[in-house]
Point group: C2
Chain length 368, copies 2
């Protein structure tokens, strides 16, 4: 195998595939990046057996072949190379020679065939949307998956396609996050649960360009995200997702409209009083023109108030401050609408067309 | 105690004194910042019993007094306050009320008297230099102190004043770093060994302004750095420092002049091949117009070469790459002069007027 490519292109490719190199694994070949050169194309590949990434890089193919090279060492070396053309050449024993200007490295590598092959995906079930939209809807929901592996379903995110509608749902038993978007075509009806960890890596790779498209292909075991030069494959979580429609209600007794940043800053300001061992709620009191925020912990007491517009009843209700902040950090609107029923019922943060709906369960505040 | 000051001034002061708040201590009062209000002045103080810092902040004194408040909680709270005036008021039980716009905190604090008093320093032995110069000479030497507490003397840095000359020396058994500066007056003759850890914190506080002066006062047990609004007190290390003059030689067999950044980049580029458990030297070969750099470890092989101007003999010599990089990172010159004798004698990196001299011992390369 012998290729020549610019350091910049090589590094861009490495940074993409690094997202699926496992930190710990018993299969040492997975600690490698596969460099695969065939059909006059140079591809880098990584695979942690849950998520696999393949990306194409621009460059000149001199000899086809493939090697698997330790990802950390390879990326550390390339990162520090001069900004020039890099020649990578491996011999029959997989010793890999990396040359760039006067700089020469010789690194033992492994046979490319040792690297697990990518699963083959049927391309019949597909949707297309922009990188920007996909990045937004994942970012705005993925924070509310559970990291508790005992309930695998909660560690994933539902992608539900109904004709030209896509709905994405994440929940963890205390909150539900829902994003809906209109697709540009009628793509059919299907549902798939994608692991949240995979999605967290995917949003790092998505460029966020509105003009770039992503195709998403769904199969029985896997989902594939196809970008212009990169494909990302994730296993899916099998099973039936929670029936969330029955948890969503449009009833409310209190509705407020509030500046998002002011509310976020005010809750964040109370966080120095929160200890890991003494989780206390933020207590929100709503009257006609004001929202008061209070927290009372072993460390001290906090009080703040913000002007709002409100309709409906006064209310006093407590929340895990992190759950409210997670939502506020990910909404792009300047002001938000919050709907409440009573101090024991979930609160809803949603916009008029319900393109986002966040449900958060309150915390009992009778002891605070 | 009651004061009013801007959030910005308060935070600047907190960030300065945080440098002497110990991460771990059995004396819990040292985890606090002392707010000391007397003589119409507001001062913040911290003390880890090695280093003590006192800084004055602008503000309005309404009632004198003092309290000690947990440094982490206080700084976290102030950091997130609105950019406005902050009122801090403590009652008879040291409950401290922090108000800023609509925001109110109530935090239990401690009696100011519990906080250890600053040592009193005789002000007869003194030198004056600019903050910029002091910051530079510490930065350019302190990296070569030892962190091995078994040899306390090596954990400190020698400040040696001889008339209008200041010489600062740090060494760790493998290398010596020396910086000399001319002082603006004849201040007398004295020597003091200042703990390196204290100096590492002091350079974070020094503004690096050439127009700001620092007075340094020397006493039997302590050294005091007096900035415009801040004083920093450090204990000193007692004893006689190493006789370094006999280790410094002007003899050489090989002299090269080399671009500093090129050499630094080339050594840094080899670092991905270095493992904690397999410390291999960087092997430098010098011939008439070239320096070659090689490294050979379990991970792989590295080779690079750089053009130089040289006089004297060819040489092959090995070094701990970190020791060379530490020096190169801290020299401000674009090109540097390196003087060598043979592969077993120390190398010297120094400039023409010897305002800096770095000695680095080589590593045996017979097995590499």
């Amino acid at each position: 195998m012998k290729i020549i490519c610019s350091k910049a292109n090589l590094l861009t490719g490495i940074n993409i595939v690094l997202k699926a190199v496992p930190a710990k694994t018993t299969m040492t070949v997975l600690e490698c990046i596969l460099i695969k050169v065939d059909n006059d194309e140079i591809k880098l590949e990584s695979n942690d057996m849950e998520l696999a990434i393949e990306t194409r890089i621009e460059g000149e193919v001199i000899e086809e072949g493939s090697i698997a090279i330790n990802a950390k060492i390879f990326s550390d070396i390339v990162r520090k190379l001069p900004d020039s053309d890099v020649t990578i050449e491996s011999d029959r024993d997989n010793n890999t020679h990396i040359n760039c200007d006067n700089v020469n490295f010789n690194i033992p590598a492994r046979e490319g065939d040792e690297f697990p092959a990518l699963p083959v995906i049927q391309k019949d079930k597909k949707i297309t949307l922009s990188e920007l939209t996909l990045k937004d809807i994942i970012r705005q929901t993925v924070f509310s998956i559970s990291d508790n592996e005992n309930n695998v379903m909660m560690t994933g995110e539902l992608f539900e396609i109904t004709g030209n509608k896509l709905r994405v749902v994440a929940l963890d038993g205390h909150r539900i996050s829902i994003r809906k978007v209109d697709l540009r075509d009628n793509f059919g009806n299907y549902k798939v649960i994608v692991p949240g960890k995979a999605l967290s890596e995917i949003i790092k790779i998505l460029s966020g360009e509105n003009s770039n498209d992503v195709n998403i292909y769904f199969s029985d075991k896997n989902v594939m995200f196809e970008l212009s030069d990169t494909i990302i494959l994730s296993r899916i979580i099998e099973g039936e997702y929670y029936k969330i429609d029955q948890m969503i209600s449009n009833d409310f007794e209190t509705h407020i409209n509030i500046n998002k940043q002011q509310l976020l800053n005010s809750i964040d300001r109370a966080m120095p009083l929160v200890k890991e061992t003494d989780k206390k709620p933020i207590i929100i009191g709503i009257d006609d023109s004001n929202i008061s925020l209070k927290m009372n912990t072993q460390i001290g007491k906090y009080e703040d108030s913000i002007n709002i517009t409100k309709d409906g009843k006064d209310i006093l209700i407590g929340f895990n401050p992190k759950f409210i902040m997670d939502v506020l950090k990910n909404i792009d609107d300047e002001s938000i609408d919050i709907y409440l029923i009573n101090s024991k019922a979930p609160c809803f943060i949603k916009n008029k067309d319900e393109s986002y709906i966040y449900l958060i369960l309150p915390v009992n505040i009778s002891n605070n």
